[in-house]
Amino acid sequence: MSVTIEGERIDQLLRIIVAAATGDYELRVPLVEEDDDEFLEVELGVNYLLEELTLGKARSDGQRQQLEARAEELAHQQSELVQALSTPVIAVWPGVLALPLVGRVDDERAATITAVLLERVTAERATHVILDLTGVGTIAGNTMPALLRMVRAIGLLGASCLLTGISPPVAQQIVALGATAGGASVRALAQLSDALAFVLAQKGALQR
């Protein structure tokens, strides 16, 4: 089979193939009825291929957008879950809140804890807050002052703050800052149960 093709048709076809090779699938080979030869089938075939590529790209873009939206939704849910788990404020007695902290406390977490805790102290008219640090391994360098500021803020709301479960490294951090840093009077007890007994005794709720 021998077909004579005008150079312009071949140039056009090559331009479109090169554009497609760089990701541009929008161009099409111009077709005319008068070009009634075997090369017309090649030109139309290229156009069909470009249509398939366009459809495939649209499908791929759609799936990518769906995945991105899903990932964003999961990240949001995870963030909410982490926030909820990182500040498990428990009302252990009317007017007594306990917050067992677990894991590493950095500035961001300290800020979240402070915001949640102060809101709960106000909402529940709490008189005592027990901050249990048993599960806290380390506190980031600048975070201890933030926690002590939180203790002061709790005091300003009319509640007393008790620290329990302080590990030796955390104790050293507190001492380094001064136990009453900035006027925050910190009362420490060994265990959460000790603090609860202390508070209930203060409230006259325990019969000895």
């Binding site: 077709l31 009825e33 009634d36 089938e41 139309l44 069909y48 459809l55």
Partner: protein
């Protein structure tokens, strides 16, 4: 509507469905077309006359390949572009029940020779 159906009889008395095809054929049109020939017109002889300028979307082209199971089918067109499009669509099929013609009388004569 890109399809217009007529029930006619060939010169030798064989009933067939003549379909005039024109315009842009999308997937819904293709589904309707295939449903006719795999449903009420199953195994009927078909003569489709495709007008110049008729175009098929990618999804329609793929769906029309399901017509492979239908009865003898002759397509008549004077358009080089339409004929080329049909050649491309049917290239991988190698269906002896399907042929493209430039002349309607030749197409009818071929249809008359085909067994149902």
């Amino acid at each position: 509507m890109p399809f217009r159906y007529e029930e006619l009889v060939t010169p030798r008395g064989r009933p067939y469905v003549r379909v005039h095809v024109s315009g842009d054929i999308d997937i819904r049109d293709a589904e309707e077309y295939v449903a006719k020939f795999l449903g009420p017109y199953l195994r009927r002889h078909v003569l489709s006359v495709v007008a110049s300028g008729t175009e098929y979307t990618a999804r329609a082209r793929k769906h029309l390949l399901a017509m492979n199971d239908a009865g003898p089918h002759a397509t008549v067109t004077n358009s080089a572009l339409v004929r080329t499009a049909i050649n491309l669509m049917t290239r991988s099929q190698d269906n002896p029940n399907y042929r493209v013609f430039a002349d309607e009388l030749a197409a009818l004569a071929w249809l008359d020779e085909q067994e149902a």
